[in-house]
Symmetry: C2
Subunit: 447 residues, 2 copies
């Protein structure tokens, strides 16, 4: 049995929805489909989710009800167009309008209203596509997270699945007909709509796949798989046929956004494979993400900008018990999360994403100076992190050498090297201005 | 004005003491001399400090007083031999015996008795050498830490200098005649003898050098300077002419034991240079340790064994706020100090010295499993850390490449690379079995 999840561009308009349903219907193994909200139909188009977020801002800043109604109508027009092009008989538009109005009227807490509105794109799309498929003669059930028992923690915009969901979904999902579920959200204990982090429809599919112990989780998008490097920078990069969960997770960290990395977590225990496929070219083989594989060499390289290094030096630091722990406590108290902590004998650096410092840089420096009494303190901005990923690196001698040679040949100064904990990746800190050159150099060295 | 410190082998017997005094007397700039306890005279000889520690163990385990007296006599025989060979007229032996007996009779707390006995080797040697020099016609004052005001924290075996010492020493030390001071200990607020960590005579000299704002701190030992690699492994390694405080500190971390690294701390603020010289070849130029220098390339390579890596993996670890802080708190509570914390996306390793785990490994593992709920946990033993050090690395592109190439060419698998926080060093984790080959390979690559 397979779970198929379709991304925003795969369900953006009527013609895409027809492709999706063809895929869904032609294989009886495809029992459950998870859908996103309608995405962009063309460059410059606006996603329905973004229109819903705009609606939220109008409501919350007390704009006149006329403007709010206009925005609601703009959203409904997207669905109206879909209905018309599908020649759908039993319009759901007034039902959708009521749902939006109900959320706006009933939910007073802003974060909760945002989640309820944000989730509506997926919700409406699932209901509409299920009804249309039924109308076409294939009985298809629309079930929302409340129906199937997808219970989540009560953290608006950042829900996490609760363990009891798996048993509930297993018990409630019928096996005798097709089911369409909206992605991106669950319900909390107090029966509120709570969304996952953005891109969270991948997660809904993964949760259902685990609950039903699926044989395969198909993730349909608008590319035929995962490339070994960013195609915006490297022309025609090699496509990856197969990679492991761990390789996926390492790559997704530094800019590979094809599959939501939290979505691997539910699949881990049962080892359910994922395939990334192209809705527009469903016969392409795609990229498989699997628990284990026999691998040689490097599977992908990525580079992400926007990092900062806070460097501290203190003579005899390494004899000072608790220094790093105190440093991390300061960061934790300020709600700053960090990426790495490279250390020398008498120095330590904290590598973090630059946005973590917004409004907090001054406070952080003050706290470090007050608490840790360091000899030197400096902040280095505009750093990029380049990652080289591959299970084959575990056993290879000379993987590091290939990379450092590429950097040397292209005159790229290494600010940081971090290898050691993960055996399947190596991480290099460079200046942002070198990012493109470095990625090209490393890609050419390995591929 | 110069402060001259002489190590154990430089003051091990009468002929060495004569060399030392020749050096001390021939230069009027040499105002203060700091001496160690008599060291080894030949391979297999026993240092006086170790004899004193044995004496402590006999006392503390309530051995018969006959055995204790025999040990005291063995210790005094060393000084007797020195006196005889020097043809010293006014023997101090009975005075030394009284001092030892007094410590044993009066000090009940074991850790304090150990410090008092341990410090006696330096104390007796300083008193004897000063008296002998005076007898030879050069008026020389013996002053102990209590006389000069060398005040330390009250942590037996691990004293730290207290700030007020510098002013006290400056005021109390006469400038009109030569002074000999025993190294290795100070006095606490409650007027107890407290020793520095082993090798701490270097520290005494540094404290006096700072207090007197000396022009040069001469550190006399039995080698003509610092080599760029361990001569036991690399035949005839290059000698270092000059290196910075920071380079010294990085090298001393991984097996370079020529100069006690805590001894740099007092010199930092005034930038007092140190020279490592050979008592037996005083005309050799030695190695200078200076605050700053213009440097190119690598100054030294070192490799130290006995490291362990504790590797943890947990899916989505990098989203878990406080994970590393909790981990460090566990280590701190167990009194385990660590060296490095290389981290990947979902994994983190703790690199520590193997002896830190004695009796604590089981407890540590248990605590990690209980508190951190990791997916995977493993311990990797028998690791070595190889360090490449040089101020010239700050600006060089390709330093890392030279090393990784050497490792690849010699088929050495890199377990860890840590570069980033200190700009003057790079650190590589390898297996212990590769340590010798790796050091040779890297030495040959840079020198």
């Amino acid at each position: 049995m397979k779970i198929a999840k379709f991304g925003g561009s795969s369900v953006a308009d009527a013609s895409q929805i027809k492709k999706v349903l063809k895929i869904f219907n032609e294989d009886n193994e495809r029992l459950v489909m998870v859908v996103s909200a309608p995405g962009k139909r063309f460059d410059g188009d606006i996603k329905v989710t973004d229109m819903l977020i705009d609606l939220y801002h109008l409501v919350i800043s007390n704009h006149p009800s006329k403007e709010i109604d206009e925005q609601i109508n703009r959203i409904l027009e997207r669905f109206q167009l879909i209905e018309e092009e599908l020649q759908f008989q039993h319009s759901l538009l007034s039902h959708f309008k009521e749902k939006l109005k109900f959320h706006i009227a009933e939910i007073t807490e802003p974060a909760r209203l945002l989640d309820a509105l944000k989730s509506s794109g997926e919700d409406f799309n699932a209901e509409l596509i299920a009804a249309y498929n039924t109308e076409q003669g294939i009985e298809t059930l629309y079930m929302n997270p409340d129906d199937i028992g997808l219970y989540v923690t009560d953290e608006p915009g950042n829900a996490m699945v609760r363990e009891e969901s798996f048993e509930a979904i297993k018990n409630r999902l019928p096996r005798d007909r097709k089911v369409i579920i909206p992605g991106f959200f669950g319900v909390s204990e107090s029966n509120q709509i709570v969304t996952f982090s953005r891109g969270g429809s991948d997660l809904t599919g993964a949760i259902v796949a685990r609950a039903l112990d699926a044989d395969l989780y198909e993730n349909y998008t608008d590319v035929s798989g995962i490339f070994s490097a960013n195609p915006m920078i490297i022309p025609n990069p090699a496509q990856i046929e197969e990679l492991t969960y761990d390789e996926m997770r390492e790559l997704s960290y530094a800019g590979f956004n094809v599959f939501h990395d939290e979505a691997i977590a539910p699949l881990y225990s049962k080892g359910i494979p994922v395939v990334i496929k192209n809705t527009n070219r469903p016969d392409d083989s795609g990229t498989f993400i699997v628990p284990n594989r026999k691998a040689e060499g490097v599977v992908g390289v990525s580079c992400d900008k926007g990092f900062v290094s806070i460097n501290m030096k203190k003579y005899l630091m390494n004899r000072e018990i608790g220094f790093t722990r105190k440093l991390l406590s300061i960061l934790e108290a300020l709600g700053i999360s960090y990426e790495h902590i490279p250390s020398g004998i008498d120095n330590v650096s904290i590598i973090l994403r630059e946005h973590q410092l917004i409004d907090k840089e001054g406070l952080l420096i003050e706290q470090i100076e007050k608490t840790l009494n360091v000899d030197q303190l400096s902040i280095e901005k505009n750093l990029a992190i380049l990652m080289i990923v591959g299970e084959g690196m575990k056993t290879a001698v000379g993987t590091a050498n290939k990379a450092t040679q590429a950097f040397r040949d292209h005159n790229i100064n290494l600010k940081m090297i971090n290898q050691g904990s993960s055996e399947i990746s190596m991480m290099f800190g460079i200046e942002e201005k070198d990012a493109t050159n470095a990625l090209k150099a490393v890609y050419n060295a390995y591929f």
